[in-house]
């Protein structure tokens, strides 16, 4: 019975995901409180400098970080864990009284929208281009796309973002800067209307372009090498010998088997894109979680920093979980092998 539970693919993945979230919660708790340059002390000092009495400052700091400063460290830690489980991530220090959870809820949809959409585009584009250049190996198309992909893969996403602003806005004057900033124009409300979607897309398009350019290179190269490997497999040779059409071989044999391993990569890419949003969203002043975190960092707003980072991690872990299940569902061998590590 116990063995059946520990071997259960879904259960193991869920336990691992929960463990990851716990680990990150613990790391941020200790990084913010126990490291040299303790954030709690800085907060208290700041508040006293603003004319608050020492006791008041302590109370205020404690309530902002939603901890009890008089309790011993391990009790503080347990209380913090309990608060996080209830969805209480403390309150912002700079925008007094605002709950971190509320701040995050406002911006999270925009990051999910931009990162999700760009990943979808990247995935489809990467697979298509990778397969095409694997089939036309050593042609000029192959050389052109392979070299471009290798170049894009090497360059930091945030440099691609800077270059996009320079070229599109300054040099070519194609996209006005106001369209690159913010998630929506003033006066537009989130609702199910054409206006809303059109405006949201206008604001996100350059960011999408940068996300796609920054990540599509590695997808193309990996899909190319997967396809080439699959093309060399015996069953493809057999299919050829049986006289199956190229198209049938590409869709039924090669495409499926070359694409499958990419689903695990999808999970890693989600983490990378969300991590990259920290730089790109603040470069484009796009109001998502990355922008919120960057602002909290520059204002040294520790409760917000800690909370936003936690939410980012939870989203990435959840996305990983979904990608794992998706992969397990598409490729039953994984489930039977119990993880396939």
């Amino acid at each position: 019975m116990v063995e059946r539970i520990t071997n259960n693919f879904i259960l193991r993945r869920i336990v691992k995901a929960l463990f990851t979230v716990w680990l990150v919660t613990t790391i941020t708790f200790f990084v913010i409180r126990a490291m040299p340059g303790n954030a709690v002390d800085i907060l208290i000092q700041d508040l006293t400098a603003q004319g608050m009495s020492a006791d008041d400052a302590r109370t205020q700091a404690a309530s902002l970080l939603s901890i009890n400063l008089n309790a011993p460290a391990h009790e503080q830690y347990l209380e913090y864990l309990a608060n996080v489980t209830r969805g209480d991530l403390g309150r912002s220090y700079k925008s007094r009284g605002l709950f971190v959870t509320d701040l995050v809820v406002q911006v999270l949809p925009w990051t999910l929208f931009s990162v999700g959409l760009s990943l979808l585009i990247t995935f489809v584009l990467g697979i298509a281009l990778g397969a095409i250049i694997a089939y036309t190996r050593d042609s000029w198309i192959d050389h052109l796309i392979s070299n471009l992909a290798a170049m894009l893969d090497a360059v930091s996403p945030y440099l691609i973002g800077l270059l996009a602003i320079l070229l599109l806005n300054v040099t070519w004057k194609l996209v006005p800067l106001s369209e690159m900033r913010g998630a929506l124009s003033p006066g537009i409300q989130p609702e199910f209307s054409f206006e809303f979607f059109a405006d949201a897309f206008t604001h996100v398009k350059v960011l999408l372009l940068v996300y796609v350019l920054a990540s599509v290179g590695s997808w193309i190269l990996i899909m190319k090498s997967n396809t080439i490997t699959t093309l060399g497999e015996d069953y493809v040779t057999v299919a050829r010998a049986r006289g199956l059409s190229d198209f049938r071989i590409l869709t039924a044999y090669v495409g499926r088997n070359a694409t499958l391993p990419l689903f695990t990569r999808l999970a890693i890419s989600i983490g990378f894109a969300v991590g990259g949003s920290l730089l790109l969203e603040s470069l484009f002043t796009y109001r998502g979680v990355g922008f919120l975190l960057a602002r909290a960092i520059s204002e040294r707003d520790y409760p917000v920093m800690q909370g936003v980072f936690l939410v980012i991690t939870i989203s990435v872990v959840a996305a990983n979980l979904v990608a794992d299940f998706l992969y397990g569902w598409l490729d039953p061998r994984i489930r039977i092998a119990g993880g396939g590590n």
């Binding site: 320079l166 991590g275 960092i297 980072f309 990435v316």
Partner: protein, 295 residues
């Protein structure tokens, strides 16, 4: 001592072989020479072209000219000279981070592969968990709390975050080498673990280790310039990241004539990253002949 000498000689021999093969690969040679040029220029360039100390009001935000190949910045200082003087930090941080991360990864990965069993599976489970945590945001959060005043601390911090992916690759590599015939023969002859590791396994893995180290280096460049952009790393010294950030803060992004102040350091970073990657890719091809035909 003998094991060390053999390790050294073995590594030298491997390096010689690799360079010979690399010379046949045009892109690889270009990447190697470009990397070498950037590193040498960054380390010794400042001795020949020291940084300008005063502003030059008559020459603010100029485009490229014969006098200023890459234009001038918001203080009228020569961009090319600033780029030459701004490479040292980046090159040093990239190299240090790569070196430390690779050392940890090789140690952990090979121990995991050699001991195996429960320790191995526990370590790999932890590595997998570590890989899902968004690394750059974590680095940014930690960097606000720890005072990052020097290059070495920053490099150690980045290396501590970046080694797990590498460790997994090293483990896979050691596992595959362990199964080769000559290693199995050596094990059966009871040549001693230390001898086998230093004489047979490590020299054979050197090219692979160098490739992984270079990939970590490019990631370290990305992280370092990113931290500067977010304003976490102190502003005191001038490097490519600081140049971009300073120009951006001056609103340079919105004035066409001033864009050279951002293009120059950006070009330097991109060129360095590209040079490193082409070098690493060709090393991979040299190292793994199966790739030679496919990429």
């Amino acid at each position: 001592m003998n094991a060390w000498r053999d390790f050294f000689i073995g590594t030298l021999r491997e390096t010689g072989k690799t360079l010979k093969l690399l010379a046949r690969n045009k892109m690889g040679m270009f990447g190697f020479l470009m990397t070498l040029l950037i590193v040498l220029l960054s380390l010794f360039g400042p001795l020949i072209w020291p940084p300008e100390t005063s502003a030059n009001v008559a020459d603010i935000n100029q485009g490229p000219s014969l006098k200023h190949w890459l234009g001038t910045d918001f203080q009228g200082q020569d961009n090319l000279r600033k780029v030459i003087n701004g490479g040292k930090d980046i090159v040093t941080i990239a190299f240090l981070t790569g070196l430390i991360a690779t050392t940890i990864a090789v140690t952990v990965g090979s121990i995991s592969a050699f001991i195996g069993g429960t320790l191995d599976s526990m370590m790999m489970e932890l590595v997998n968990i570590w890989l899902t945590i968004p690394k750059f945001p974590l680095l940014a959060v930690i960097a606000t709390v720890i005072k990052l005043n020097d290059i070495v601390t920053l490099s150690i911090l980045m290396a501590l975050l970046d080694w797990p992916g590498l460790a997994r690759q090293v483990r896979a590599q050691v596992l595959s080498l362990k199964k080769r015939d000559y290693i199995e023969a050596a094990t059966m002859l009871d040549l001693g673990t230390r001898d086998i590791v230093f004489r047979e396994i490590l020299p054979n893995m050197m090219s692979f280790i160098v490739v992984s180290m270079i990939f970590t280096m490019t990631f370290a460049i990305y992280q370092q310039t990113g931290l500067v952009f977010l304003g976490i790393v102190p502003y005191s010294s001038s490097n490519w990241g600081v140049m971009i950030s300073a120009a951006e803060r001056r609103g340079v992004l919105f004035t066409a004539s001033a864009s050279w102040s951002i293009l120059a350091p950006m070009g330097a970073i991109v060129l360095f990253q590209l040079a490193l990657i082409t070098f690493a890719r060709s090393l991979e091809e040299v190292f793994n002949p199966r790739l030679r035909t496919s990429v």
